[in-house]
């Protein structure tokens, strides 16, 4: 029995042995059990509450509507890739509006042109750099009292892709560097970092909480308890800037990965409440919904107050924003206004509308309204008082002749003398702001109508109400001297504005109408040939869009009138080309629906002349073209000759006094404008025929030399031949040889007779002209014709033979002109001699 039991035990032991062995082979029975897994419920995660909205009621500290000097404009830079939308700034817009400010975007152009009329400038997150001129303009703006808000934001950046390398990483362009173009001048530098706080923040590490300890002193932060900036750059400050918002010691900069000492907003200059430049590293406090958190809204309102506190006096550069509506537009000395003037008026009105002002043309200014006066230097009497008050003197000697084509004499003086210095009138426009109490008067003067147009274009400035464009002008306070860009600009006698209109009248309520290009829009292709048109024929046709018509006229030689009667939707432009394709004449003097006429066109031959008809706006329309016989055009233009002057110093006679001629004075006065040849009888011998070849004006100047026998026959023959050929002649001297043994009488003073406007230009009727001494001067037998048409100088009332002619002119049948001047030109004052000679030359060549 025991044996069996033992056997069973052994059997079982042996049976279990493999299991035991395997167990010890695989496991460590005595190994420690792994620790109990932790319990996880996730129930203790702290809430991240939304902060309560701050209690804020906007109470503007400043209202610009009550300010007489403020323009109320805040320029919002959007011309430098600024990373925001206008919609985002609705809150700021509203805050500024509540303070009487208008947020005006600058979408293109330079700050320099936009800042003068503004009270403040707002620059938010630009990614394109600023030119040195922009930075200087901002410095100047601040120096004038303007305020600047510079706002960066590390979340506002531009991503640039390298199109030449598709594998290149895109590059992030932040606003930091462009902002520093402007900020560095004020000892403020935006760092290219972002701030973070992982200990105490507003819902996220990048949302920086600021309590009272982080708020600087001053109007911007007084009374505020807590702000939250939702991502911010830090600012590095120089000695003239002071921190306004500072982060706590748990706030870190991503740039240094160091905590503490970080500034989020700063003012420059540093003096309390004297800051004019506010730099903030975060834009969110201005945006919804971040402006509702804590005191962010109140801070945004303080910033708006800060901007409203800008008080700039941009002077003339602020045109037209310093004007109050309604502004009256006048022309000095009330010229007749034509289409050219209307173009300027219409354009100015549009520019004024952009600036929120009204401009009305006024014959008689009300006297108590702001005015804009346009005119020429030569017609500036209406604004003489304003010019005098500004220390400006317009010097025009000799007087400008009525015939505008005349070339001024070499000694002509046309100067604008101003506190900015003396400048030539030609090529320069003057813009003056004269302030009289609350009334502002702007005077714009130029040498010519074209110059005035150039100046008006500057006043119109860029589109969008950015104010006048005085770039390139010599500008100081209320005075600007601007180049007109017109080469050889004449100083015109009077304003002529009768040229073809450049543009149809602007619709007052339609600011969106595109500007009319100077010559309209050219069709893309060649004009479509419409066949021939004969003299006396009328053709009807319809222009399609973007099409021009070409008609052939081969009925010459003839004098023709070309008429195009356009439908109301067609603003016709008519051009006439000769067979060589050269433009002979063109017209676009009427608006849509008007009649265009080319009258008195001389067609010299029977060649194929092309009449091209097109629509100014390229929109097409119906028209009738007529070619009729016309009258030769009256040539109203003054005849202008050449510029070769021959001065014959007839100095080989007997001197009546010391022996002199005025040849040298004549030569000096004429040298600049004429090609002068001087011949001395004593030095050069008898006058030769060849010497007068190609001469335009012959001056026979005998000074005080007298030849009672008269001129030598040969010499006289040469001169008469010249005269017979139509040559103009000036005979001057105390007793010219041509008069022979004529009686003389002492002459110390003559006086002006204004029978002819050209010969008396620059002088008043009866104005005495005194000589440097009394001279024995010839008194011709018929010298009492003082009231004749061309007498311009007579003996003075206290002289012997008072009233006798001293200077006069004659016009021959062939329009040959001769002037007698029985007086020594060199004996007159420099100004009078210059003016007198200028008048004589102008008359001779008219």
């Amino acid at each position: 029995m025991r044996k069996a039991a033992l056997t069973v035990v052994i059997f079982l032991a042996l049976l279990a042995a493999p299991l035991v062995v395997r167990t010890f082979q695989y496991y460590r029975p005595l190994a420690d059990a792994p620790p109990t897994p932790p319990a996880y419920t996730g129930a203790d995660i702290a809430a991240v509450p939304t902060p309560a909205a701050g209690e804020f009621e906007d109470a503007p500290a400043i209202s610009r509507t009550a300010s007489a000097t403020a323009t109320g404009i805040v320029i919002l830079d959007q011309a430098h890739g600024n990373q925001f939308t206008r919609e985002e700034l609705a809150t700021l817009d509203g805050l500024l509006a509540a303070r009487g400010l208008e947020l005006r975007p600058l979408t293109e152009g330079e700050l320099a042109g936009a800042l003068p009329p503004a009270a403040a400038l707002v620059v938010i997150a630009p990614v394109r750099g600023y030119a040195a001129a922009d930075a200087q303009a901002v410095r100047d703006f601040v120096a004038r009292g303007g305020r600047v808000l510079l706002v960066g934001d590390p979340t506002r950046y531009n991503v640039e892709f390298d199109e030449t390398d598709i594998f290149a990483l895109p590059v992030i362009e932040t606003a930091q560097v462009p902002l520093n173009d402007l900020a560095n001048a004020f000892d403020i530098t935006f760092r290219g970092d972002y701030l973070y706080n992982t200990v105490a923040n507003e819902g996220n590490f990048r949302n920086i909480l600021l309590d009272e300890s982080g708020l600087g002193e001053g109007a911007l932060t007084d009374g505020l308890a807590q702000l939250a900036l939702y991502s911010s750059h830090s600012l590095q400050l120089g000695p003239t800037a002071a921190p306004l918002l500072s982060a706590d010691e748990d706030t870190w900069s991503s740039a240094t990965d160091r905590p503490g000492g970080l500034t989020l907003a700063a003012l420059s200059p540093a003096e309390s409440d004297a800051g004019q430049v506010l730099a903030v590293g975060d834009v969110h406090f201005l945006l919804e919904p971040y402006n509702t958190v804590y005191d962010n809204g109140a801070f945004a309102a303080r910033v708006a107050d800060f901007l409203a506190g800008g008080a700039t006096d941009g002077g003339l550069a602020g045109f037209p924003y310093f004007l109050d509506s309604p502004v009256e537009l006048t022309y000095s000395e009330d010229p007749d206004l034509g289409p050219d003037a209307f173009d300027d008026v219409i354009a100015l009105q549009a520019a004024f509308r952009d600036a929120g002002l009204s401009l009305a043309l006024a014959d008689e200014p009300a006297g108590d309204r702001d005015t804009l006066t346009l005119g020429l230097y030569n017609r500036a009497d209406d604004v003489a008082d304003l010019l005098d008050a500004a220390g400006i003197d317009l010097t025009i000697t000799p007087a400008v002749p009525a015939n505008t084509g005349a070339t001024p004499p070499a000694n002509a003086v046309r100067l604008v003398k101003s506190p900015l210095g003396d400048v030539a009138m030609a090529g320069t426009a003057l813009i003056l702001l004269a302030e009289e109490g609350q009334r502002q008067q702007v005077v714009v003067l130029a040498a010519s109508g074209d110059g005035l147009e150039s100046a008006v274009a500057r006043l119109r400035g860029a589109a969008g109400g950015t104010g006048a464009d005085l770039s390139g002008c010599l500008l100081q306070d209320n005075l600007a001297l601007c180049p007109t860009g017109i080469s050889d600009e004449p100083v015109e006698y009077e304003l002529v504005t009768s040229g073809p209109a450049d543009a149809p009248p602007a619709q007052p309520d339609d600011d969106d109408e595109p500007d009319r290009p100077e010559n309209g829009q050219q069709p893309a292709g060649e004009p479509v040939d419409q066949g021939e048109i004969e003299l006396g024929e009328t053709k009807s046709a319809e222009l399609a869009d973007d099409e021009a018509h070409a008609w052939t006229f081969a009925g010459g030689p003839a004098t023709i009138d070309i008429t195009v009667d356009a439908d109301t939707d067609l603003d016709a432009v008519v051009e006439l080309y000769n067979p060589n394709g050269t433009l002979m004449a063109n017209t676009d003097s009427a608006f849509a629906g008007g009649v265009e006429e080319l009258r008195g066109i001389e067609i010299p031959d029977d060649g194929a002349y092309r009449i091209v008809v097109r629509d100014f706006f390229n929109d097409g329309g119906n028209y009738e073209l007529a070619v009729a016989a016309g009258e030769p055009a009256q040539d109203d233009e003054p005849q202008t000759g050449g510029n070769r002057v021959f001065i014959f110093a007839d100095d080989d006679g007997e001197p009546l006094t010391d022996g002199f001629t005025s040849a040298a004075r004549l030569g000096e006065l004429l040298a600049g404008a004429y090609e002068v040849t001087t011949w001395s009888a004593a030095d050069d011998g008898p006058l030769s025929e060849s010497a007068l070849q190609g001469i335009d004006v012959f001056i026979w100047e005998s000074g005080d030399y007298r030849d009672e026998a008269g001129p030598p026959a040969a010499e006289l023959g040469i001169i008469l031949a010249y005269v017979d050929a139509g040559g103009d002649l000036l005979i001057s001297g105390l007793s010219p040889a041509v008069l022979g043994a004529v009686e003389t009488a002492p002459l110390g003073a003559a006086r002006i007779a204004t029978n002819d406007p050209v010969l008396s230009e620059g002088f008043s009727d009866g104005q005495p002209l005194e000589f440097d001494q009394s001279y024995p001067v010839a008194v011709p037998a018929d010298a009492d014709a003082g009231a004749s048409d061309y007498v311009f100088l007579t003996r003075g009332p206290n002289e012997d033979e008072a009233g006798a002619v001293v200077g006069g002119g004659e016009v021959a049948a062939n329009d040959q002109r001769t002037i007698f001047l029985l007086a020594p030109l060199a004996g007159l004052s420099e100004a009078n001699s210059a003016q007198l000679l200028n008048n004589i030359m102008a008359w001779l060549r008219s």
């Binding site: 059997f11 082979q25 996220n204």
Partner: protein, 293 residues
């Protein structure tokens, strides 16, 4: 009577009897031991690439198999992942934690266990990495919703029915998700964690060496060492390694043995590639910077 005198005594018979008595139980014992005590196994689970719905499902199933298979005594999770969707990361965290209650789980980080991948690893008994493995990025990334609006022809019963919530609300959700992440790491690592939550919330990616200093991992070790450590935790002297994927999902339908399941090598370009067109939502994911300054 002497047995030798027993006429029935046969030495041969006696020898056979003894042999029978010894061999039979031994043979049976060996047979039974093979049946009753198979060689213990350590299951290997691989988390590769993004954490998404598919990867989460596959890993969760493998962990379930590990828990239900008595032969599997421990699990090693080999990680090469930058993380992914927040909720799926949390699912893996909870699955690992559940598994850990039944058998040891060791995480072995190869190249990267960032963000959601580390979230999952934090639930393991122990975490091992290589000296330069990328570890950490404890944080949340998400896009904020856009501006709200209403439409004439789309009627909803609440102002945010069509948008899910406010931007501000979303900010709070994200921040709270971050706090949950930090809490999970704290729970998983316990006292071993030496880095403070504020520093950890910077969401930096650390090297394995740094991670060990901060207590984010338990050591620097190879995957083989991690297997041995798992065996140690499971009290195993001897074990075999099994891939849980083919054990979980039938791959035998593939007739050719040479193409049967084998772990795929990690495509590093894919691993580090920044995601494109991420769907709205919260992510525990490390994203390689895609732009430079």
């Amino acid at each position: 009577m002497d047995e030798h005198d027993d006429p029935t005594y046969s030495p041969l018979r006696t020898a056979l009897t003894v042999l029978l008595i010894i061999l039979v139980p031994l043979v049976i014992g060996v047979f039974l031991a093979n049946r009753l005590l198979p060689r213990p196994q350590i299951g290997v689970v691989r988390l590769s690439y993004d954490i998404g719905s598919l990867s989460t499902y596959e890993i969760a199933e493998q962990l379930r198999v590990a828990r239900e298979n008595p032969a599997i005594q421990a699990v090693v999770v080999i990680i090469n992942s930058p993380g992914g969707s927040a909720a799926f990361s949390e699912e893996l965290f909870l699955d690992v934690l559940d598994t850990r209650r039944e058998l040891p789980v060791v995480a072995s980080i190869d190249l990267v266990a960032a963000s959601g991948a580390y979230y999952m690893a934090a639930a393991a008994n122990e975490i091992y990495a290589k000296p330069t493995s990328a570890v950490g990025s404890v944080g949340v990334i998400a896009s904020l919703p856009g501006d709200v609006f209403i439409e004439e022809d789309l009627l909803t019963t609440g102002p945010y029915k069509a948008f899910g919530g406010t931007r501000d609300g979303y900010v709070r959700q994200i921040e709270r998700a971050k706090l949950a992440f930090l809490d999970a790491v704290q729970v998983g690592r316990g006292d071993r964690l030496t880095i403070d939550p504020q520093t950890l919330s910077r969401a930096e990616v650390y090297t394995g060496v740094q991670a060990m200093e901060f207590g984010l991992i338990d050591g620097l070790a190879s995957s083989e060492a991690a297997l041995r450590r798992a065996a140690e935790l499971a009290g195993l002297r001897d074990f075999e390694t099994v891939e849980l994927y083919p054990l979980t999902f039938d791959t035998d339908f593939i007739p050719l043995a040479e193409v049967r399941y084998q772990p795929q090598p990690i495509d590093e370009a894919r691993l580090w590639a920044a995601p494109t067109n991420l769907a709205p939502g919260l992510y525990y994911r490390y994203v390689e910077p895609s732009a430079g300054r």
